[in-house]
Assembly symmetry: C2
Homo-oligomer: 335 residues x 2
Amino acid sequence: MSQGRRQLVNDPLDVVAEALSGLARQHAGVLDVHPDPAFVARAADPADSAPRVALISGGGSGHEPLHSGFVGAGMLDAAVPGLIFSSPTAAQVEAATRHVDRGRGVLHIIKNYTGDVMNFGIAAELAGADGIEVARVIVDDDLATDGAGAGRRGTAAVIVVEKACGAAAARGVSLDELVTLGEGIVANARTMALAVEPLTHPGAAQTSFDLADDEVELGVGIHGERGTGRVALQPADALTDQLVDPLLAALALERGERVIAIVNGLGATHPLELAVVFARLGARLDTAGVEIARSLVGTYVSALDMGGVSITLVRADDALLDLWDAPVRTPALRW
Amino acid sequence: MSQGRRQLVNDPLDVVAEALSGLARQHAGVLDVHPDPAFVARAADPADSAPRVALISGGGSGHEPLHSGFVGAGMLDAAVPGLIFSSPTAAQVEAATRHVDRGRGVLHIIKNYTGDVMNFGIAAELAGADGIEVARVIVDDDLATDGAGAGRRGTAAVIVVEKACGAAAARGVSLDELVTLGEGIVANARTMALAVEPLTHPGAAQTSFDLADDEVELGVGIHGERGTGRVALQPADALTDQLVDPLLAALALERGERVIAIVNGLGATHPLELAVVFARLGARLDTAGVEIARSLVGTYVSALDMGGVSITLVRADDALLDLWDAPVRTPALRW
């Protein structure tokens, strides 16, 4: 391994708790951070007192602003953070589920990792035993793991599921309908990522994996998992094409179709780099006759301080775009 | 120098132009990117046709989202990007000044760097010769350069000047009054930064400076300039204190006073790190009896991919907080 990047941490084992304390302080009155079991929920809002389905997501920390940055009006009711790259416990998810329930059911939006699926599942059973109706959408958009034993991993498409289901829930859509909506988005969403620099765990002396000077990890996971292979370091346009072309093929996008596109920095990627990648993505989709109807370009699902980018494409129709455009007021998405 | 971080670039000399192309594409209909001379301006908005003062800022690229991310309703009318870490030309600034002028004058908001001050000054003279009234606010908040020959450098306090003056301009405040407002903010704003990792220029094989394993550059500039000295790598809380305490002293903040606080990542700094620093800042200000009335925590003024943080404190009264809270709709700030 290479020498790790130095970071601003105190006790590396305490970084998640300390960061939650900072989050609580910054967003006092808007977000409540419940300490034990730990979860982040919207503060009580008199303007949002009607019965409706409540939404939860969560997973390992280290991917901020995901998921706590998406808690707020029009999106999640609560986020459940585990330790770095570790699933939250079932007790955390259960506590969050009970907290947000308004009698119309709770939707669990889960990225497809074994620990997350298991712990959200246990929590759903425990809450269900007390009469709280829980349903789930599993997000598995990472094309690099297509055909893998545990199925595809979940990554940035979860933002679109959280945004659209959050908007629909605010409009009073039922739990069953939200599951159908979420699963429809997942079926039409794929992501491909690449790393140009490895990541360093907080306080670690070494990076979590190595890349030679001239290597890029194609299909890298958001925890630094190996992808589909290593390719030579190339200009950004050539690398972007190696993300976009498999996505177009996997989604069988045809001329005249529209997408929501996310160009996501993996942590240490500069806005200039993301803009360069977005420009190439746009040119490539022009050639394919596919319209970028909406886009996000920024660091939304980080992999600690990895260098690199993921591109997510989600096939979009008028109904999805209408949900996307609905007002949202969270720390990381506001319009 | 150490080995540089690999980045997603094509021709390193073309990165700013390519990134502007990506920005134009993402924000089509909201921002217009004028190619030559290059500047980024709000697209025409029928809802904003009244005469008022127009606001411009700019400077070297590599600090994104500054300044192009702050163009939009309630903030800047245009941003003028130079090449990486290089002042824009006077021709660029002049073109932007002519473009945004509505007959009530144009305010130049300039970070205090020799090239920027000179080129904005030339542009002001050229536009002024044609009857466009131009005034300027020079932002010099970097406490690490207090007493330096060229004066203090300008850094993240520029966000507060842009936000408050933008809100005031939208309310019809005159050019002279905006200068008074901006200068008042600058006089009550100071920033301290530190680097834990050096930066890499796009495509460069090596970092732009070196730090030993156990070193932190205290008072680093946003181009990697040397600061007040090197200190030992320490826990985040101890490092945070070394930023906060000089700020409290320099601003002579007294118990019961309020501040706008910005905890700004310098590029590759993770949201978890920034939240840890914000938590400590909050505790430190509690002890000092100073209230954080408003805050930003995120990467707003980057120094390419440097690792580290800056803390900005701005003394705030009701009038400034009212301007801060006014609606803003830009790529990087929205409320």
